[in-house]
Symmetry: C2
Subunit: 229 residues, 2 copies
């Protein structure tokens, strides 16, 4: 039996959108490991794997259960060392934490604005109620008020990608000549938006757009199989 | 004969300040390689090593001359593989380019504001004229007008360090448990300000402050030997 990935979906089970689950999809594909995608809703998470974690992704690999996309990548790296590396050494492991920090603190805050109403709208009624309550608690405001800032914040978001553009002058991926887990960290955030909303985040001439397209082509185009919203 | 590092100074030859030269000082110390610091002024650079490069750092290692702090780190890594690693693998090499992009596009723009008048003031008259002309061309404004934005921009600068704070929850250095070249990339920017101005960039309670103090302690405290301005 292959690895099972517990992965978040909304009412349409064919359109997984969680950025963190996408990091794990890409990690498993990178390692060339067979896996089954078990789609679940927000409210199903507490019952998964005997309440193993409050968040997905969670994987089951035989007897072993692992949660958190970074922990899963480390697990896969250590347990499948003969497969293509996700980190390429101790330096890559450490610096992936820096890329994670950058993605979480720079990209995710804006993505949260962009995807807020689209996520809400695709959930069924009980999950909508859960989503609204939990997110309004985090933001301290109504969902609609947060979402209204999307256009006004786009320029600052685009500017915040300058570190990546500067890096892309030297190499095609964060991982160098080819992708590593650090690419999937940032990819997950952009794929989240791609699956949920037709809103145009990047101009076609943006080197970050080209990088994202390269990522969509990886591993047989596994991430492109879910069409853009 | 050890390695020679051509390093920028102002009128006081005992206070090297260039962020890029500091990256190389730390790289050479990390490798445990003996080196001599040949201090030069802005206007000396075109005459160095037969006009090898328009910018410092430049190192001479026997017959070999290398310019650019990143290229120098790669050279040292490849030519002294038995010494402590500056990258810890191919992933670390690649992701150091991402850290460089972040440092250049996020930290340097503010540091350039903070250090502008202090650098100007410590140069001798011919170098002051060179500095003013070249920098006012870059900024498109008078030095004094750029420098006046220091206090107003401090809060946004501090907020821009969030990726690093997030990473420091997981580990004490960008390189993981110990420093790598990626730490020296960011360190160079903060040391630049430390040597040039008493202006307080970070609160004492900031995890980035603690990280910087850890860097100052490295390699026998080589960077702390130059007192704070």
């Amino acid at each position: 039996m292959g690895i099972i990935l517990h992965e978040l979906v909304g009412a349409d089970k064919n359109r997984p959108f969680s950025p963190h689950c996408w990091k794990t999809v890409m990690s498993l594909a990178h390692k060339g490991l067979p896996f089954d995608r078990n789609t679940i809703s927000f409210k199903d998470i507490p019952q998964l794997e005997n309440g193993y974690s409050a968040k997905v992704p969670i994987i089951r690999d035989g007897e072993k259960v692992v949660a958190d996309s970074f922990e899963i990548a480390l697990y896969l790296e250590d347990h499948y060392p003969d497969r293509p590396s996700l980190f390429k050494g101790a330096g890559g492991r450490a610096m992936a934490r820096f890329v994670e920090g950058w993605s979480q603190m720079t990209i995710h805050p804006y993505m949260n604005v962009v995807i807020l109403m689209p996520v809400h709208d695709l959930l069924d009624a009980p999950n909508q109620a859960y989503f609204r309550e939990s997110r309004e608690k985090i933001f301290g405001r109504k969902l609609e008020d947060v979402a209204a800032e999307r256009d006004a914040k786009r320029e600052a978001f685009t500017k915040s990608l300058e570190p990546m553009r500067k890096m892309l002058v030297s190499q095609p991926f964060i991982g160098g000549e080819g992708p590593l887990f650090s690419d999937y960290i940032v990819f997950g955030a952009f794929q989240w938006a791609r699956v949920l909303t037709p809103y145009k985040l990047l101009d076609g001439s943006d080197p970050v757009h080209d990088w994202f397209e390269r990522c969509l082509d990886l591993h047989g185009g596994i991430a492109r199989q879910i069409g853009a919203a």
